[in-house]
């Protein structure tokens, strides 16, 4: 559905002064996948989206969207993708209805008025259809911009910071709508700084800083970076238990934190019963057991730190 092979974009600021915005991007996103594209400011995320939506041409490499090749079938690509740009970019003096009608006509949508009406209803904007877009709240503007990106029913959607600057309620509404779009089988390329959002919405995540540093499902990234860890909450802690647990085959590391024992291992389902039995046999009052779940933010920061990106920027 979306594929990139060694996609590269270098901006020449002055002669001999080049800025590599995107370097050797290799990516394959399947139909119906929600792909999170994460990276710090200036990482080249918007440049990537612009290349994949045929707004700017790559310096080298190739990319295909919906089977159409970037740089060769640009008009077809633009006909088949929906783009939510970083700024809503609405015509503020024009009504919501007129804003959408312009785009429906540019996409040559059949029964344009009906389609506009459908999306205004769907996003709860029908009662404000005749009001100028400039009078809308940030959340309403964003919803209108999302409707605009969907009018021609594209199978691939590129969303650049869809919840940026929105209040929590508006952000929740937009997120639910993205979830619905994902459920409809549309391919979604989501650029975001909101890591909880990416964790919740995306099947896979790419961490990007001019080049793709890591790409996998959030669960696999967690495991890859931190391995799996289980926390045993106890009424009281005996430091001797650390050594005992460490002798069990398959245990990677053991840490004592307050009244808890944190055990790193590859196979919690196989080892947890053994550890629980050992602790109980040695007089431990086990309160409860749970897997330690690192946030996507931890993964993101750890990945960038390992790559020297954060250190470089500090």
């Amino acid at each position: 559905m979306i594929e990139a092979k060694a996609l590269t974009k270098i901006f020449e600021i002055k002669k001999g002064d080049d800025i590599p915005a995107v370097v050797d991007l290799n990516l394959s996103i399947a139909q119906g996948e929600v792909f999170g594209f994460l990276g710090p400011n200036g990482a080249g995320k918007t440049t990537t989206v612009r290349m994949l939506t045929s707004l700017i041409g790559p310096t080298s490499g190739q990319a295909w969207v919906n089977g159409f090749e970037v740089g060769k079938e640009d008009q077809e690509i633009r006909r088949n993708v929906g783009v939510l740009t970083e700024h809503p970019g609405l015509y503020e003096r024009l009504s919501a209805f007129k804003n959408l009608m312009i785009y429906a006509n540019l996409h040559d949508v059949e029964s344009a008025e009906k389609q506009v009406e459908k999306y205004l209803h769907m996003l709860g904007l029908w009662s404000r259809r005749d009001d100028p877009a400039g009078s809308f709240s940030k959340g309403m503007r964003q919803k209108l911009a999302i409707a605009r990106a969907l009018l021609h029913e594209p199978q691939a959607l590129f969303l650049d910071e869809p919840t940026s600057g929105l209040d929590p309620e508006a952000a929740r509404l937009v997120r639910s709508f993205i979830e619905e779009l994902g459920d409809q089988g549309r391919t979604i390329f989501l650029c975001t700084h909101n890591l909880n959002e990416a964790d919740r919405l995306c099947n896979r995540i790419g961490i990007f800083k001019s080049r793709l540093i890591a790409v996998d499902t959030p669960a696999n990234l967690r495991q890859e970076i931190y391995g799996r860890k289980v926390v045993f909450h106890l009424r009281a802690l005996d430091p001797a238990w650390k050594k005992l647990i460490g002798t069990i085959e398959g245990v990677r590391d053991v840490q004592l934190v307050d009244q808890k024992i944190v055990v790193g291992m590859e196979d919690p389902e196989g080892l947890n019963p053994k550890i629980i039995r050992l602790l109980v046999e040695n007089g431990a009052d086990l309160l409860f057991v749970g897997e330690l779940r690192h946030s996507l933010e931890d993964i993101y920061l750890q990945t960038l730190e390992e790559e020297g990106v954060i250190k470089d920027e500090l």
């Binding site: 939506t53 783009v83 740009t85 970019g89 024009l94 312009i102 785009y103 996409h107 040559d108 911009a145």
Partner: protein, 267 residues
């Protein structure tokens, strides 16, 4: 070329830009002044015709006599001389109006970030440029023609003689209004596109682009100083020059109005 896309752009531009008071003011007030001023001048010089009975061709600047036909009286020739200065005002209409519309349209789209979603549609940059250019120049051309039409229609009502009307509705003025005007509108739109790509304030774009009026003002002062007389030959030469300027300006406009340029280089 997709005409539906071009029509949509024109429709959008007009819907948006005509809600702007500054644009409306420029579109209505300026042509009105430029139409009324020469009429007032002709009315008062007509009233004074009696007193001008003694005016002979010797009173008209010698360089201008060639513009007067042999059947004109000295007073009529003087009227033609005076009203000829206003021809250049009519020629300013197709420069000022498109500059105002294009400046507000393009800089406006830059400041509201609405160009990027527009560029993400299947419209080609050429169609977009044609749409924007037509949206800016058509009102100017139409307003210019209407002003001139009203001006000519009002002449008999003010008692202007047939010889003077024949001169005003003659080849020099018609070439200026019907051919030179649209050519100047095209050039000024493309100049505004170029200027708008470099600035972020519509008024700055407008002010810089109106520098394009300088050649017209040059003609005006040259005629007032008696250096040239605007006649058919001068107008044909002007049109020839404008065609060359248009070719250059359209090339400049289309080379600057490219997706990648707009998104990565426009400041």
């Amino acid at each position: 070329m997709n005409f539906k896309s071009i029509r949509t752009i024109i429709d959008k531009e007009w819907a948006e830009v005509f809600k702007n008071r500054m644009v409306l003011f420029t579109m209505i007030f300026m042509p009105l002044i430029f139409t009324v001023l020469p009429l007032v001048m002709l009315y008062f010089t007509g009233q004074e015709m009696g007193d001008m009975g003694g005016v002979g061709t010797a009173d008209v600047p010698a360089e201008f006599l060639s513009a007067c036909s042999s059947d004109m009286t000295g007073a009529e020739c003087m009227q033609v001389y005076l009203v000829n200065q206003f021809l250049l005002l009519f020629m300013m209409v197709p420069v000022i109006i498109p500059v105002t519309i294009a400046a507000y349209s393009i800089v406006g789209e830059k400041t509201t970030h609405s160009l990027e979603p527009l560029l993400a549609t299947p419209i080609s940059t050429f169609e977009l440029l044609v749409g924007k250019s037509l949206a800016a120049s058509l009102p100017a051309i139409i307003v210019g023609w209407i002003s001139f039409g009203l001006f000519v229609a009002a002449l008999p009502l003010l008692g202007v003689t047939k010889s003077v009307i024949n001169y005003i509705a003659g080849p020099t003025w018609l070439l200026a209004i019907i051919i030179a005007g649209p050519l100047m509108a095209i050039a000024s739109v493309n100049l505004t596109i170029f200027v708008s790509s470099r600035v972020n304030d519509p008024r700055t774009a407008e002010q810089i682009s109106t520098l394009f009026l300088l050649p017209i003002l040059g003609l005006l002062f040259a005629q007032l100083a008696g250096v040239i007389v605007i006649n058919v030959m001068v107008m044909l030469s002007f049109i020839g020059g404008m065609i060359l300027v248009d070719i250059g300006m359209v090339y400049l406009g289309t080379s600057i109005f490219q997706r990648e340029n707009i998104l990565t280089r426009w400041k």
